[in-house]
């Protein structure tokens, strides 16, 4: 077929006979109901591991798919992990909760991926920390002593000359020193006025006039929008999921009053989320103005019913979100029905290796390919015109759609530059709550959410109204797409132009059952957001949202935070005396530079460092910003499970920052093992793993029926049990929060934390309330049944091995109202709450649908400006070449290879190197090089080479103090890789996390060489010449660039 299109040579040249027969479809439709039950006639006294008493249900966290699992426990030891058969994420179709006995569920196992299976080795990692460590040498020396938990809490709260014993003559600020704004009403008033300041409705002088008495609580009274001194406390999380995430925000934001809470999303796929969110932002009217907000951050193809899917920079068989639910849908579909798929990836991933089309584009040119397809689709009028023209909710309903489109909305053009959607009041046509469309050549005002007025808009229109120039979103996309020919786009992407037509033709030949899917590979680039927009434009053009076989928002979940009408515990409200955290975040996220007081102070553009008004959790910026003290210095860093030095592109540059006692006076970590970043902590609090604790993750949007998994302790804790305000509990993140809150008298924790006589003195006081919310359901009459008496007994019997520090029947019951307990037991006995699989579809529609507006134009970035260049960002899907922060293009140089990364299906980014069962599958990673390149360079399989880059010319990680790690690895020659590209997986090349010798209480804990094998290429990724201590970054989506760098390959003599 076309260039890069492969398949069906498979089995050639092997010892196997070839042939081809599909599995009969009839096998795939038989219902389980007819057969389950009879299968359960096992002999007496059989395998005890299949018994209901030894099975506890919980939720995995070996990756963020959060699979729903059952754990077999024998003699208090977790011995096997299987999929929860009640969950559609882990068994298709899932056993129906209502009619499946727990005995039956215990015997039927769902699927779990290899790293999920190996989760026991995260739990029982021999390098796990069990007691609190305090460093006894310089930061990073890996010299520690164990200290009592209570002492550690006292020291981090009170501060002082904490390291005088090792010769550090300095005062270390404690948390008490930063906890200066304590009064909830003062904080609320200040936060409200900061919003006014931000909106230009208040001046700094006016703010000072109002809040002058509290000037001393601010970081800088001249710049009150930097917030209170409380913001000197910064919390960063490598992986924190729902349940714990909200609890941590309760502590950091509401209790401590710091705005600085960060997750790691920008080193994963954040630009993808932002592109999705903007594309699906919904209209709301506030104070007489129309806004678009609260879009869905993540959607997925309905893989069981789609007929053609293009995976951009991802696949279904590795990584993504995620392989466990997705893979079977693809393998089933390719065998049993009319399904075809393409994979756009410079590397022949496992998915690409089985695809109908492999399209090995040049890295980072996804938008070039997608825009070429957009152009072809528009030129050939292959788009779904009816869908695109529906301008209101009523129009969608009238024409059999549940979503409608902003394709016909007019966008205001000033000086040739598109800005926001034109509001009807601006041209005297209507109100500020309305946009304007052109209907049969006549401009008319439209309320996007209008449920009665059927408005069908002209797609391709340009008008001048009362002197205002405007074009439809569709016109802007069309003009942009036509800025280059298909051939020019194809040239950029490095594919034959016929590939564009092949893909575009096939994509538009399946009605609404074709989907363009994307993930990390397409967006971890400086142009990631716009790559995402271009890919999502393809979905808009075929009008696939909400259709069976189309683009799905997923089945969703019951809301554990209690914000729905039927739920007993609205946790956000159950926080008396909460502080309103406010101020510019350390990473300048969710805040426009122009709307800060620093804009005037620093004379406008360029900002000292980039600002990120359209995104959040800009992880790679946390430490470098602290290093520069911009926008303000920080005092205390709390790093929970974060590994930025290892996991971030050019993260090695952060070594110098985190070592610096001036730049970050106190570093606290909470983690299970001493990792590459944890090693720089002053104190490490051991954490408990996902199998020892609570959590309430949300399901993946690939799952089309509602799922609310619950994570709960299934074995006793391995960390030390300590007393926190009289309650025994394992040292953990929760214990640290409770103990610090107790000592500082923070709101939201401890006695009366949720309200009068509603105490929060143990983790389950919080978490069981989330379970009660799920049990109640979002709506009245949605509650789960009560657990029967025998189920109540089973609940207790299955937990006999759990120590009082984590489980007590009586104590758990006290966390809830009496009538809630039996329902919560019902939920916990099943590891959550799950709808039957057949609730996913409503004929040709997805039952759980977006039912909303989708955009072809994004007015946020359309109106936004780049914080360094001051230039407009732009709201239309487009291809942009990779650039530095100041917009300087990055060009290839002679002798360089483009570096891309990928993830093995049996690892996650940085935390699976201690999973010994998976290590033999690939004891170390390699440097994939195409056969053509290897031949040209005279390299062969297994040759050892060093990699270098422009900003890491020596190819090394300099940890200071003379410790230098060379970046070397072995060549693996592959056919399945685009020439000019080298590919290296993550996961390997650790210099911590069990691969470094640790000294605790004078005893050396030797390293395990298995955990240090292979190489990490993150340190080779370019630091930004315009912001030299951080990697290249997408200015809109905030994604860290993992795949815009080049490397040189030098043979090691």
């Amino acid at each position: 077929m076309d260039q890069g299109c492969t398949r069906r040579q498979f089995l050639k040249g092997t010892g196997l006979a070839t042939g081809g027969a599909l599995l009969g479809v009839e096998l795939l439709t038989q219902s389980r109901g007819a057969v389950v039950g009879v299968a359960r006639s096992a002999p007496e006294g059989g395998n005890p591991l299949l018994s209901v008493e030894s099975t506890l249900y919980t939720t995995c966290l070996q990756c963020h798919i959060d699979c729903n699992v059952k754990v077999r426990v024998a003699d208090g030891v977790a011995v096997k992990i299987d999929g929860n058969p009640l969950s559609p994420q882990n068994l298709i179709p899932n056993l129906p909760s209502e009619t499946t006995s727990l005995e039956e569920a215990a015997r039927v196992d769902g699927k779990v991926c290899p790293r999920g299976q190996a989760g026991l080795q995260t739990l029982y990692d021999p390098y796990r920390l069990v007691k609190v460590l305090k460093r006894t040498g310089p930061r990073g020396s890996n010299q520690w002593r164990t200290i009592p938990f209570s002492q550690a809490v006292e020291e981090i709260v009170e501060g002082g000359r904490l390291f005088a014993d090792i010769g550090e003559d300095r005062h270390v600020p404690g948390l008490r020193e930063l906890f200066v704004l304590k009064d909830g009403s003062t904080a609320e008033a200040m936060a409200a006025d900061i919003k006014k300041l931000q909106a230009g409705a208040m001046t700094v002088d006016e703010f000072k006039g109002t809040h002058g008495a509290y000037a001393d609580v601010l970081l800088d009274p001249e710049h009150p929008d930097l917030g209170p001194k409380n913001n000197g406390f910064v919390f960063m999380a490598g992986r924190i999921e729902h349940g714990r995430g909200e609890l941590a925000k309760r502590f950091v934001n509401g209790a401590f009053g710091s705005v600085n809470f960060f997750e790691h999303t920008t080193i994963c796929e954040q630009s993808h989320h932002i592109a999705y969110a903007h594309t699906t932002d919904q209209p709301t009217v506030k104070n007489g103005a129309l806004k678009f907000e609260k879009g869905k951050t993540h959607m997925k193809p309905d893989l069981l019913n789609a007929e053609f899917v293009i995976f951009f920079g991802t696949g279904a068989f590795e990584a993504n979100f995620g392989v466990t639910p997705m893979a079977e849908k693809v393998t089933h579909s390719m065998r049993a029905r009319n399904f075809r798929f393409a994979v756009v990836d410079p590397r022949l991933s496992k998915t690409a290796g089985k695809a109908d089309h492999w399209v090995p584009i040049k890295p980072g040119t996804d938008a070039a390919l997608a825009m070429a397809m957009v152009r072809w689709i528009i030129d050939n009028q292959a788009y779904d015109e009816g869908f695109l023209r529906n301008a209101t909710k009523a129009a969608a309903a009238a024409f059999g759609e549940s979503c409608w489109s902003g394709a016909g909305y007019l966008v205001e053009i000033q000086d040739g530059v598109p800005g926001g959607y034109l509001r009807a009041d601006a041209v005297g046509l209507g109100s500020a709550e309305q946009v304007v469309v052109v209907r049969d050549g006549v401009p008319v005002p439209v309320s996007p959410g209008d449920e009665t007025a059927v408005v069908v808009a002209d797609l391709d229109a340009a008008v001048r109204l009362n002197g205002v120039e405007a074009k439809t979103a569709f016109r802007l996309l069309s003009e942009n797409a036509r800025g280059k020919t298909v051939e020019e786009y194809a040239e950029i992407a490095g594919v034959d132009a016929t590939v564009v037509e092949t893909l575009a033709r096939e994509f538009t030949s399946h009605g609404k059952k074709a989907v363009a899917e994307m993930y990390r590979g397409a967006v971890q680039h400086t142009n990631g957001y716009y790559n995402g927009l271009a890919i999502l434009a393809l979905n808009c053009l075929v009008g696939n949202p909400d259709w069976t076989g189309g683009l799905s928002q997923g089945g969703g979940h019951w809301h554990e935070q209690g914000d729905k009408e039927a739920q007993p515990y609205p946790l956000a409200d159950l926080h008396p005396r909460a502080l309103a955290a406010f101020g510019v975040p350390l990473t300048r996220e969710k805040w426009a530079y122009e709307k800060s007081t620093l804009f005037a102070r620093d004379a406008g553009y360029p900002a000292t460092r980039p600002w990120y008004p359209f995104t959040s959790n800009v992880y790679q910026e946390v430490l470098p910003s602290a290093g520069d003290g911009y926008p303000y210095p920080i005092q205390v860093l709390f790093n929970h499970k974060g590994a930025p030095l290892y996991s971030t592109p050019a993260g090695h540059l952060q070594v110098g920052i985190i070592r610096d006692l001036e730049k970050i006076p106190l570093v606290i970590s909470c983690d299970i093992v001493v990792g590459e970043t944890t090693v720089y902590a002053d104190y490490i609090f051991p954490d408990i793993t996902y199998l020892e604790r609570w959590g309430f993750p949300h399901p993946v949007p690939d799952v089309q029926s509602p799922v609310s998994p619950v994570r709960q302790p299934v074995v006793g804790p391995l960390t030390e049990v300590v007393e926190v305000a009289g309650e025994p509990m394992p040292v953990s993140l929760e214990a640290v929060f409770l103990a610090v809150a107790d000592r500082l008298g923070l709101s939201g924790f401890g006695r009366d934390a949720f309200g009068p006589r509603m105490h929060f003195t143990r983790p389950e006081d919080y978490y069981l309330k989330l379970a009660a919310n799920i049990a109640a359901g979002d709506h009245p009459d949605e509650a789960v049944p009560d657990a029967s008496d025998s189920e109540m007994q089973l609940f207790q019997k299955a937990r006999e091995h759990l120590p009082a520090a984590v489980y007590s029947w009586e104590r758990w019951r006290q966390a809830l109202r009496p009538e809630e307990w039996a329902k919560v037991v019902y939920v916990l006995n099943r590891g959550g709450r799950f709808d039957p699989f057949d609730h996913a579809y409503d004929g040709d529609r997805l039952a759980h649908a977006l039912k909303g507006l989708v955009h072809l134009y994004m007015e946020g970035p359309g109106k936004g400006r780049h914080s360094l260049t001051g230039k407009p960002l732009g709201g239309t899907a487009t291809y942009l070449p990779p650039t530095t922060a100041m917009g300087q293009p990055l060009e290839a140089m002679e002798g360089e290879y483009k570096l891309i990364t990928y993830k093995e299906v049996f690892h996650t980014q940085s935390r699976t190197i201690g999973n010994y069962w998976v290590l033999p599958l690939r004891p170390e990673n390699t440097i994939w090089m195409s056969a053509a390149d290897a031949a040209a360079a005279g390299l062969q399989d297994g040759d050892e080479v060093r990699l270098t880059s422009r900003t890491n010319p020596k190819g090394e990680i300099d940890l200071g103090g003379g410790t230098i790690i060379p970046i070397t690895g072995r060549i693996e020659v592959r056919q399945g890789l685009r020439p000019g590209v080298v590919a290296v997986s993550h996961h390997f090349g650790h210099w911590g996390y069990g691969s470094a010798t640790v000294t605790i209480d004078g005893q050396e804990v030797p390293a395990d060489p298995r955990r240090g094998r292979g190489l990490t290429v993150n340190p080779l990724m370019l630091s930004d010449p315009d912001v030299p201590n951080v990697c290249l970054t997408d200015p809109v989506g905030g994604s860290a660039s993992f795949m815009d760098s080049w490397v040189r390959v030098e043979r090691v003599a």
Partner: protein
Amino acid sequence: MDVMAVMDGDLARALRKPMEERAWGMVIDVRRCIGCHACTVACKAENKTPPNVSYNVVIEEELGTYPNVSRRFLPRPCMQCAKPPCVSVCPVNATYRRPDSVVVIDYEQCIGCRYCLNACPYGARYFDSGDFYTEGTPRGAPHEEAVTHEVAAQPGDTWRRVVGRESSPVGNARKCHYCLHRVENGALPACVVTCLGRARFFGDLADPESLVARLVAKDGIARLKEELGTEPHTYYLL
């Protein structure tokens, strides 16, 4: 697409028959295998196999030349041969084919001579040298020393590998037994239930109504090294 329910039903029917009337077999759909290795790791977890003992492996291959390249993954459990070369070489009759077609090793009889390792043309047998994954690390891991329920001689057998103790199965040959300890208790083998691509099918080949029997009757069915005449009960669907 509820093949799992179909197989559960097949299993239930088979278990109602006398053991000697069952013929356990497996079919692996090579196209559906995505190379995730979940089977391999699930097997390790289920059977607590030590380093260098892996009842199941998945062989990865890249086929073709750029840009016409594809990938293939070939899982390899024990073939459970009807004419197993490994059995005849055992000097103490420790390994034998059960009436239900599964080739097992009686750990109490095995003397660890390893003749069977050499005799197996599929490389599906391993020697348990008594290693542990956490050897040389600061702490052992309790799951490595957990009791397992392999049916190595009699149903209900249990085994426990303990650091520093040389008793069986340490010092024995080891191999895939189709998870008989699960199967005979009404649960499908660990590799089958966890297969992410749903590429593995298990059941009673003696039951013409079973899924595996129906698959084996289809075109495109193959067995590894057919020419050796070992007559495997593990089949591949191509």
